[in-house]
């Protein structure tokens, strides 16, 4: 079974000619055929294209060409990254039939590295949500328990990795959308430093917070994907101009004198499940017993994180989503009375409830007379949260805490109160607000549902985060466990 291999192992076997990409790709496509109807991890699948790509890679390897870092590896991308083939829907009725005439920079980079993109994964509409319940095309299921959500917004992506429906792929993270589903599905998810990965071609939700990152079986695979997608892009003014390190090589550097910061604010919150707390504490204790120094740190403004996030992100979203108006592309209402009706009805029909809620929230927060109270106030909180982290990282190298206060919850269990859903992001939003990297990796199970450990580091400390994560991962078996549906 190839599915027991990691992306790195598969790539090396393909590069060595031991396995063909066609074989691996076919196996993944078969698994998708088998499981996707049940899990709805994917919105779209490209069997023919994927096989053609795989054959091209196989042929190139046969010719003796130097294989790329992801040569022949079947992977996915979240369905909010543009491809010049197929649709880019954002799981929204608004973009159901939108076909981009360009590839996202990450798509170009993946393909240049030889990756075979087999499909695009489901998400909460426009990446707004924590469960994929906001997808216009129906939710994805958690492979560990299909009564439970996979998390969100990159829920389809996390489900696909966990159920071995690809050897990893890319998600996007605006307030936890990579890390929280990674935690709930028992995989590795990395949100890089803001600016490390180009956003060109990622359909914008909140531009100052959005960041693309890997969602993989293992830490090493996360490093591999990051190696491929990181780096400057002249099409994205906010992308970091400096050269990137060799993440894979850095993984092998031994760790000494590691200082782990423990923020008390991230353990005692309402809704924190004791099993989650215990598992995360267990992982921290493991680090301590393996030479790390634990340092108490304080991130006092964390309690304002959710409030600030739910001002800044909707404010930017209200502007970013203004373009979906039924005029130039996307869903258009059938019989508009006039221009206003064209706008109102197209948007009313094309957007789901959560997207509308956030557009209204953001519009309000930016309105004359309210911007001072909300938007500008939130920016001040943002500066304070950044400073909290700066201060904390004076005392420690990484911060360890839970990714999510709970394991995967059942569909519909958050009820009609959007605030309950927003609180899923309580440990993840500050990382986006501060622009720092965050990684989630499995650290245990509760009720046969995975628990995630979150590691946070200062900006551009991905190499450290990956090393710290791999140290724990290699001493534990969590990543090797497979959900029952895969059997």
């Amino acid at each position: 079974m190839l599915s027991s291999l990691t992306a790195r192992e598969l790539r090396d076997k393909i590069a060595a000619g031991e396995i063909t990409s066609r074989q691996a790709t076919q196996e993944v496509l078969t698994a998708i055929d088998h499981l996707n109807p049940q899990l709805h991890a994917y919105n779209s699948i490209f069997p023919q294209r994927a096989i053609e790509q795989a054959e091209k890679i196989d042929a190139a390897i046969k010719r003796g060409e130097k294989p790329g870092l992801l040569a022949g590896v079947p992977i996915y991308i979240k369905d909010n990254m543009c491809t010049n083939w197929g649709a880019t829907t954002c799981s929204s009725k608004m973009l159901e039939n939108f076909h981009a005439p360009y590839n996202a920079t990450v798509v170009e980079k993946l393909q240049a590295a030889g990756a075979v993109i087999v499909g695009k994964t489901n998400l909460d509409e426009f990446a707004m949500g924590s469960s994929t319940e906001n997808s216009a095309f129906g939710p994805s299921k958690n492979p560990w328990n299909t009564k439970c959500v996979p998390g969100g917004s990159s829920g389809g992506a996390a489900a696909a990795t966990a159920a071995r429906l690809a050897f990893g792929g890319l998600g996007s993270d605006t307030g936890g959308s990579i890390r929280q589903p990674a935690s709930l599905c028992g995989i590795v998810g990395l949100k890089p430093t803001y600016g490390l990965v180009s956003r060109y071609g990622l359909v914008a939700f909140a531009s100052s917070l959005d960041q693309i990152g890997p969602m993989t079986q293992t830490v090493e695979d996360a490093a591999l994907f990051l190696q491929v997608i990181a780096g400057h892009d002249e099409k994205d003014s906010t992308s970091w101009p400096d050269a990137i390190p060799d993440y894979l090589a850095e993984l092998k550097t031994p760790m000494t004198g590691l200082r782990i910061g423990i923020p008390r604010e991230y353990f005692d919150v309402e809704g924190m499940e004791p099993e989650v707390k215990a598992a995360v504490q267990g992982a921290i204790d493991w680090y301590k017993s393996h030479g790390a120094t634990l340092v108490d740190v304080s991130l006092p403004h964390t309690k304002y994180g959710i409030a600030a996030y739910y001002i800044i992100a909707p404010a930017e979203a209200s502007s970013n989503l203004a373009r979906y108006d039924g005029v130039h592309y996307g869903h258009r209402t059938h019989t508009p009375q006039d221009l206003y009706d064209l706008y109102a009805a197209s948007r009313g029909e094309g957007f789901g409830a959560e997207v509308k809620r956030r557009i209204m929230l953001g519009t309000y927060a930016l309105s004359a007379g309210y911007a001072d109270k909300f938007y500008l106030q939130a920016l001040k909180v943002r500066a304070l949260i950044k400073k909290d982290f700066d201060d904390a990282f004076q005392k420690c190298d990484v911060i360890a805490c839970p990714t999510s206060p709970s394991v995967a919850f059942e569909f519909g269990s958050k009820g009609d109160d959007p605030l309950q859903m927003y609180l899923c992001d309580v440990f993840t939003v500050t990382c986006n607000i501060a622009g720092i990297p965050g990684l989630s990796l499995p650290c245990g199970f509760s009720r046969n549902l995975p628990i995630g450990l979150q590691l946070l580091g200062p900006t551009f400390s991905e190499k450290t985060l990956l090393r710290v994560a791999q140290q724990y991962e290699s001493a534990h078996e969590w990543s090797k466990k497979k959900p029952g549906v895969c059997a």
């Binding site: 914008a204 404010a315 930017e316 502007s319 203004a322 108006d325």
Partner: protein, 499 residues
């Protein structure tokens, strides 16, 4: 301060908002061709577009550095402060010509801060006009409503064109000043090469803000400010301002005489009817919900960059005008006419540098040359006559080889044959002045014989002495068919008459 027939004292306040499309090769935030660049003026609808212009999902803007530099050049020419830090903001409103439904603009930290220019007035004097700010933004597309009952069409060629919005303080006090300001700004932009300033193509758009301070019974009444739109010629700027002044006065007389709250309104200019029409009151104005554009990084302007750009700011029209008046002893009217278009001024200076006297070259350029250029709808250099030729012709006239009248004749020949040699033309046409004393004396005798009355006046009527001499000189010139040297004629005439 002005007075109407009913002797109401009032002051006019006009502030201008001017949009200038910058003639960069590519657009403000993407590398697709810019319609305001000369080569692209006649592009078919929706051909100057790409995913960024269309506002497709996921695409990102990237700043066009040259547009920033051109905007800085204008700012420096207007003596604006160029701050070291400037940022981009989104201005939100829904309209089908704006694909993103927000415009990338600059809200509170514009590229160019306060400045001022000296505005040349028609009487040759100058007036200081303060600049409030100038900021860079992207233009919107165009809606075409003609031709179809059931729908309108969108042309996005104009969308994303770099647009510099310049705002003045309300220092203009007459409709003429408003027009002159617009003309001066156009001249500056053309000098700097940042815009062709073709009004018909929308390279420049003007929005005067007008109101009156009316002084009555010891009180000052301020009429509500109106912003006039749809002005695409200098004439319409002047006419719209004049109309608004009278309309606001009439409105005030008609009962608005109590102190009103300042409700700003927008009025559109109807050029055919010569009236402004209410478009909307600012109370209904939209809330643009400005906030910093998270897709763009702020621009840091270093001292070094600013100074590099400053080197591109060439001698401005007004500086050139003053230099001509001082250095070449030209009148304000002459220097204004010469500097109006930079290529004309450059032709003038090249002709002078090639040895033509400033006076003679000026006369040549502003006479038949200007008249012909206007008829042909071209600038002076496009007449095809080189600076060397102008200089050669000027020298012939200045050293007396040909007369001033003959110079015009030669010039007319050059218009038909621009590569001709002035001296050869003069020779071929027999226009070379005759300096032969014998021949000239013969013409003098002939003229004296033919005009005994003038000779009598010269000798016996001191009041008419000079006039008679002039008359006789003219007679000699006529007899010589313009070939006589006027100076020699004068000397010989006086010698003969005073003998």
């Amino acid at each position: 301060m002005s007075a109407t027939a009913t002797d109401i004292q009032y002051k006019v306040l006009i502030g201008m908002e001017i949009h200038v499309q910058l003639a960069t090769k590519t657009k403000m935030f993407t590398s697709v061709a810019n319609g305001a660049y000369p080569d692209n003026a006649n592009a078919a609808p929706n051909t100057l577009v790409d995913p960024v212009i269309l506002g497709l999902p996921g695409v990102l803007p990237v700043i066009n550095k040259r547009a920033v530099e051109m905007a800085m050049m204008v700012g420096l020419a207007l003596n604006c402060v160029i701050p070291s830090f400037t940022k981009w903001d989104r201005k939100s409103y829904y309209y089908p010509d704006l694909p993103k439904n927000y415009q990338i603009s600059q809200y509170d930290l514009p590229l160019c801060g306060e400045g001022q220019i000296e505005l040349p007035l028609t009487d040759g004097s100058y007036k200081t006009i303060r600049i409030r700010r100038a900021h860079l933004e992207e233009d919107a597309g165009k809606l075409l409503h003609e031709g179809h009952e059931e729908f309108s069409q969108v042309d996005l060629n104009r969308a994303g064109t770099p647009l510099l919005e310049i705002v003045t303080e309300p220092d203009l006090t007459t409709p003429e000043e408003a027009r002159l300001f617009g003309e001066e700004l156009r001249r500056i932009c053309r000098y700097l090469g940042v815009s062709q300033g073709i009004m018909q193509q929308g390279h420049m758009r003007f929005e005067p803000n007008i109101n009156l301070h009316i002084f009555h019974n010891g009180q000052t009444f301020k009429t509500p400010i109106t912003e006039c739109k749809n002005l695409n010629s200098f004439r319409s700027v002047e006419r719209a301002c004049a109309y608004e002044i009278q309309r606001q006065l009439a409105e005030w007389h008609a009962g608005g005489q109590k102190q009103q709250p300042m409700r700003k309104s927008t009025r559109g200019w109807d050029d055919d009817k010569g009236v402004t029409v209410l478009q909307r009151e600012k109370e209904e104005a939209e809330d643009y919900r400005y906030f910093p554009d998270p897709d763009l990084v702020p621009v840091t302007v270093s001292e070094q960059w600013r100074e590099t750009v400053r080197k591109e700011v060439v001698e401005l029209p007004i500086q050139r005008r003053k230099r001509y008046e001082k250095h070449y002893a030209l009148t304000p009217k002459e220097s204004m006419a010469l500097i109006d278009e930079r290529p004309n001024a450059e032709l003038f200076e090249a002709a002078v540098a090639a040895g033509g006297s400033a006076r003679r070259v000026t006369n040549l350029l502003l006479g038949v040359a200007t008249k012909t250029a206007k008829e042909r709808g071209v600038l002076l250099p496009e007449l095809g006559i080189s600076a060397m030729t102008y200089a050669a012709l000027a020298k012939l006239a200045d050293d007396g080889t040909i007369s001033a009248t003959a110079a015009v004749t030669v010039f007319e020949e050059l218009l038909a044959n621009p590569s001709g040699d002035p001296k050869k033309i003069a020779e071929a046409k027999g226009l070379i002045q005759v300096r032969d004393v014998g021949a000239t004396e013969k013409w003098v005798e002939e003229a004296l014989a033919a005009n005994p009355n003038a000779v009598d006046s010269y000798k016996n009527n001191p009041k008419k002495k000079q006039a008679s001499l002039g008359f006789l000189r003219g007679a000699v010139m006529k007899i010589s068919q313009g070939k006589a040297d006027p100076k020699m004629v004068g000397e010989l005439l006086e010698k003969r008459l005073d003998a």
